[in-house]
């Protein structure tokens, strides 16, 4: 019985390959988008963990110098001899030609995490590591390092991009910092009777692990963004699957009734349907996971670049497969199919044995619950508004987005119905009246596909508005901030001194870039000392300010903070900010800061040097009307490496590159969503085409040619898409507003002004219309080619 039942059920799919295709591809696409993004997130997190394992950031407490960036090795030995279980780290930047390498020296014997992610040390790792002759490097920088270093360079894919690890003794030589250490990692287990830190090493402070620059926390918002996008795509996919499954179940009512009258129990039947569903879901899920892998692999380099540019987080550029990810992909496919099928299965459970097989297709009946749908739409939209007004935090921001999109999707069929009724009222001539009425009648069957189109278009409008607004603001910001024509990183104090002396006469102005990593208002932050001059006064624009900002800063009487710090600590002009113990200054201005996740504060150079006398200036901005001449002179005279300098235009290009890459992912997901929606329309029209004949045959019989019928079908698709577009525009703008004013503030700490881009919207609209036209073309073409005999058959029984 089971075999016979199953074979009967499956025969339907054999006869309706198109529906099978819709179902499988819809589910596969949904799974692909979801699992692809999950793969990206997993890979990024694995990279953070790998980095944390080497350096102990976030995992272990650390001892860092109170001021400056290094301290003497003797301090380490003193602490060890007092019982403190700490491991030394020396970290520095190395230029291998044009390649920037983060070189980390560790002592594997005392490092709490051991040698972390090193996987290529052979059978005798400690011996290899301590042989003083090897540097382990990420494969991407290994070639450059090989030309620079005399040590053997071992390629180790376990290391984060741009990172090389070596023994601390080698690092001291390579970085030319003999006897120096950057910080100490504190082992979690410490012996009894350990003296307090202040009595052994008063120059160090303990930094609890959760306060260290926790890359995971910083990047959470980025990953949440990606996850939200993948959920949206998944939802769009599930719309398609829901339609396909509903249709299939409804069309099989007759078959189900027959099976039951033949003696198959309802329970047995539902089990068979579940079995069939599970099989389909697993097949589609499998395809989806493979597609997801391809998607993730092609997006990963951009994601990695974005994360590094935005947060300095290093993410490996190659994707590894985790079994858990496969399983979760399949699980989400099964879950999605179950959600999509729940309603249909429930209906079959309720169906009396001898109920007449539904004459109307299920899709035609979808409009039955208008009242409930309207209520749901209003409730969701109200919920979205409430969340924006009352909510706080990134999750609630996304929740309000979800409510807005879902509410709008539910409202769409109702709105379209109203709009079509308006059209019908204005229609002249019998053909046009029939056309509008027929369009309205088709609406329920197309509404799911149109909802998908709505979501896709709204997401496109919203995201492109956000990205373009961001772009405009960001370019303006770069122009304000990157005032110096040439930026130079010096490697030693002597070089810094030589540079200042050399540039004194040759540059129009020297802007030392003085900063310390510190904590302000209980947040990790950077404190800058600025040499106030026209470069700052003329260019910086304040979001809020009080009095003569730069004069007060130059006099050491006030501080400027960035928007991130202002928002997070709720500090605004007039409030006080403690920049050092016992020094609290009023805030004179708040500046927009769009290239940086953490807080920043700017004080005058003199005040900075008073409080942080140990901070060495190693970076300089040089103003010059002939930057290329200056650059040559610095290379030829001072022996500064080309890699140590970057000119303004290159820096701008780099910053914009980071920016573009950040949104490449968003753009790619956007395009995919639109593609999925187009596919949904195509599939809906194709599945509906079969039911259309009885409705079109009378029109044909009354004299409308097949060619005209085909044209009208095309027109209908375009009109429906256009009307959907009309709803999508305001929805997209609302989406953009939430992204800019709510999500961005929560995720990055800054609020962006919103700009409108009518040209972009027009192009998008045209693309959507074209997609609808394309999707409708094939069904319309088939209709135009339907043999008259086919149309006549409709009347055969009358």
């Amino acid at each position: 019985m089971t075999a016979a039942g199953l074979s009967a059920l499956l025969s339907y799919w054999r006869r309706n390959l198109l529906q099978l295709f819709t179902l499988v591809i819809g589910l596969a696409l949904a799974t692909a988008l979801w699992s692809g993004v999950q793969a990206l997130n997993t890979e990024a997190r694995a990279s953070y963990d790998a980095a944390a394992a080497v350096l102990g950031e976030g995992q272990f407490d650390q001892l860092v110098p109170r001021t400056g960036d290094s301290f003497d090795r003797a301090t380490f030995v003193d602490l060890r001899r007092a019982g403190w279980q700490v491991g030394p780290v020396l970290e520095g930047t190395l230029w291998a030609g044009e390649t920037r390498v983060r070189l980390v020296g560790i002592d594997p014997l005392t490092m709490p995490g051991g040698a972390g992610p090193i996987t290529q040390a052979g059978e005798n790792p400690l011996q290899t590591f301590l042989s003083r002759n090897v540097v382990f490097a990420n494969p991407e920088i290994a070639d450059a390092l090989e030309t620079e270093l005399s040590q053997e360079v071992i390629r180790d894919p376990g290391l984060a991009p741009g990172t090389a690890i070596t023994d601390i003794g080698v690092a001291q030589v390579v970085l030319d910092r003999p006897g120096q250490l950057s910080r100490l990692i504190v082992a979690p287990e410490q012996p009894l009777g350990r003296p307090p830190l202040a009595s052994v090493a008063p120059a160090l402070v303990e930094q609890p692990s959760q306060q260290s620059s926790d890359i995971g926390q910083l990047t959470d918002s980025f990953h949440l963004n990606l996850t939200a996008f993948s959920l949206l795509s998944f939802a769009v996919g599930i719309f398609i699957v829901h339609g396909a499954i509903g249709l299939a179940f409804e069309q099989r009512r007759g078959m189900l009734r027959t099976l039951r009258t033949l003696g198959m129990s309802l329970r047995h039947l539902i089990w068979l349907l579940l079995l069939e569903l599970a099989a389909l879901a697993l097949i589609a899920g499998g395809i989806g996971v493979v597609l997801g892998y391809v998607l993730a692999a092609s997006l990963l380099p951009d994601v990695a670049a974005s994360l590094e540019g935005l947060y300095g987080a290093q993410v490996s550029g190659t994707l590894r497969l985790h079994p858990s990810w496969w399983l979760s992909g399949l699980a989400i496919a099964v879950l999605g199919a179950s959600v999509a099928a729940a309603q249909a299965l429930w209906r079959i459970g309720q169906m009396p044995v001898l109920a007449s097989p539904g004459a109307r297709a299920w899709a035609m009946a979808a409009g039955r619950h208008r009242g409930a749908q309207a209520f749901g739409a209003v409730a969701l939209l109200a919920g979205a508004a409430l969340l924006v007004l009352l909510g706080d935090g990134l999750i609630l921001g996304f929740a309000s987005l979800a409510c807005l999109l879902l509410g709008a999707a539910l409202a769409l069929p109702l709105l379209l119905d109203v709009l079509l009724r308006l059209g019908q009222r204005r229609a002249k001539g019998v053909v046009w009246e029939w056309f509008w009425a027929d369009t309205r009648q088709q609406l329920p069957g197309l509404s799911l596909a149109l909802m998908a189109l709505l979501l896709a278009m709204a997401a496109n409008v919203g995201v492109s508005t956000m990205v373009s607004s961001f772009r405009l603001t960001f370019i303006g910001f770069l122009d304000q901030r990157l005032t110096a024509e040439l930026y130079v990183n010096t490697e030693t104090a002597a070089q810094a001194k030589a540079l200042q002396a050399f540039a004194e006469d040759r540059a129009d102005a020297i802007l030392p870039i003085l900063f310390v990593d510190t904590r302000l208002a209980d947040q990790p932050a950077e404190l800058f000392g600025a040499r106030v001059g026209p470069s700052y006064e003329d260019n910086w624009r304040f979001l809020q300010s009080e009095g003569a900002v730069w004069e007060r800063v130059a006099a050491g009487e006030a501080v400027i903070i960035n928007e991130q710090l202002a928002r997070r600590a709720d500090l605004w002009p007039g409030d006080g900010l403690a920049i050092a113990p016992e020094v609290t200054l009023p805030i004179a201005g708040v500046v927009g800061d769009y290239g940086n996740p953490i807080g920043q504060a700017v004080i005058g150079e003199a005040l900075f040097r008073d409080h942080f006398p140990d901070v060495q200036t190693t970076r300089f901005g040089l103003r010059s009307s002939e930057p290329e001449v200056l650059r040559r002179a610095l290379i030829d005279t001072l022996g500064i490496q080309p890699g140590q300098m970057i000119d303004q235009s290159a820096l701008k290009a780099f910053s914009l590159g980071v920016f573009e890459r950040t949104f490449t992912i968003t753009a790619a997901l956007n395009v995919l969503t639109l593609a999925v929606a187009g596919f949904a329309i195509l599939m809906s029209l194709l599945t509906l085409a079969g039911f259309r004949l009885p409705q079109l045959a009378p029109a044909w019989a009354l004299g409308v040619t097949r060619r005209d019928l085909g044209r009208l079908e095309l027109l209908r698709a375009v009109i429906l898409a256009a009307l959907t577009l009309v709803v999508a525009m305001p929805l997209g703008l609302a989406l953009a507003w939430i992204l800019l004013a709510v999500i961005n503030v929560e995720a990055f700490g800054w609020r962006l002004p919103m700009f409108l881009f009518p040209g972009d919207y027009a192009r998008l609209g045209a693309a959507a219309l074209f997609a609808a036209l394309l999707a409708a073309a094939w069904p319309a073409f088939r209709l135009a080619r339907t043999p008259p005999a086919g149309l006549l058959k409709v009347f055969a029984n009358e």
Partner: protein, 345 residues
């Protein structure tokens, strides 16, 4: 487990302490090799010998508090060289590590430390004698009169040691053969220490007194390739006599054993191979392995037929190189106390 431990376990070319290192014993890359008929130079030889691959300062003690409760104590400093010789700063090829433990009848506390040579974090000087790693220290004006400290996450101790007898040279005047192929080490001991001080345990601080035994050994070729581990006994009989005995277990099931009979005045008699027999009487499952924690020890030439029984059969050193080490009681033809070390299980 800490990664560094696994790291070390896989890598250190050290010691007779663990299985798996046997192959290193014959792999001599410029290291000095012990020769017969050594002439020791004290106090210089109490210090480190960086030209040899491995070396240790190995102290065990049997202790009692006022109530007669028994305790065991271990303090061991190991030196292991990646290459012969010494160099300044991080360039030093010398690696130091150390184990400390306190054993009671029902608990075993242990800790370990690691250090690089060359930077002052660990080392040994001869006069005044000072052996240290981090805050652990065995030091005094002379080798006969020293203070001992160690700390762990859940225990610590501070002890004073006074030698009440002479140094004892193991094997052939300090040349201790470890295999039929001739692997050997320099090996001398100070088994006559009186020890007193304080143990700090989770229950509180306990004043204790007792006897301690210090072994000094250095070599470049600790085990033959076919040797998998050893069982080592240091026993203080109530007659004042002492016995050091070890057997090396070989892959073919045979044993290589050796030992020294020490008279109360420090006079030594080396034991011939096969003069001694040690057979397990009882196994204890600890750390997932079966370890013999009760032994029958027979030395017919001295009329010794004793049972050696662990104070705490679970005295497992859960260090990067794991082994069993704990205090034992002796009963039978002779009575007394001592220490047992077993590796390679």
């Amino acid at each position: 487990m800490n990664k560094v431990l696994i790291f070390l376990l896989l890598s250190l070319p050290v010691t007779g302490l663990a299985q798996g290192f046997a192959g290193m014993g014959t792999d001599v890359e410029g290291f000095a090799i012990p020769r017969p008929d050594p002439v020791f130079d004290f106090p210089a030889d109490h210090s480190a010998h960086p030209d040899y691959r491995i070396e240790w300062w190995y102290l065990t003690a049997n202790l009692q508090d006022d109530a007669g409760t028994d305790y065991g104590l271990q303090w061991t400093l190991f030196r292991s060289a990646l290459a012969p010789g010494e160099a300044d700063g991080w360039n030093s090829p010398q690696i130091w590590f150390a184990h400390a433990a306190v054993t009671t009848a029902d608990a075993h506390f242990s800790a370990e430390r690691f250090a690089r040579g060359g930077i002052g974090q660990a080392g040994v000087t001869a006069a005044p004698f000072d052996a240290w790693i981090d805050d652990w220290r065995l030091a005094g004006d002379s080798f006969d009169d020293m203070d001992l400290t160690a700390t762990g996450p859940d225990f610590s101790y501070e002890m004073s040691l006074t030698a009440e007898g002479p140094l004892v040279f193991q094997g052939d005047k300090g040349y201790s053969v470890k295999s039929a192929e001739g692997q050997a080490s320099y090996y001398y001991s100070q088994p006559f220490f009186a020890i007193s001080g304080q143990l700090t345990l989770p229950e509180g601080t306990v004043p204790v007194t007792g006897t301690a035994w210090l072994d000094r050994e250095w070599s470049s070729q600790p085990l033959a390739e076919n040797q998998t581990g050893w069982d080592w006994f240091s026993l203080n009989f109530e007659t004042g006599e002492k016995l050091m005995a070890f057997q090396l277990r070989q892959t073919d099931g045979t044993l290589f054993n050796a030992g020294t009979w020490i008279a109360p005045d420090g006079t030594t008699t080396p034991l011939a191979n096969d003069a001694l027999s040690a057979s397990p009487l009882e196994q204890t499952q600890v750390a997932g392995r079966d370890v013999p924690t009760q032994w029958r020890l027979e030395l017919p030439s001295r009329g010794v037929d004793v049972t050696v029984k662990a104070l705490n059969p679970r005295a497992w050193m859960n260090t990067s190189v794991a082994y069993w080490e704990g205090p034992v009681f002796v009963s039978g033809s002779h009575t007394g106390r001592g220490y047992l070390e077993m590796t390679g299980y």
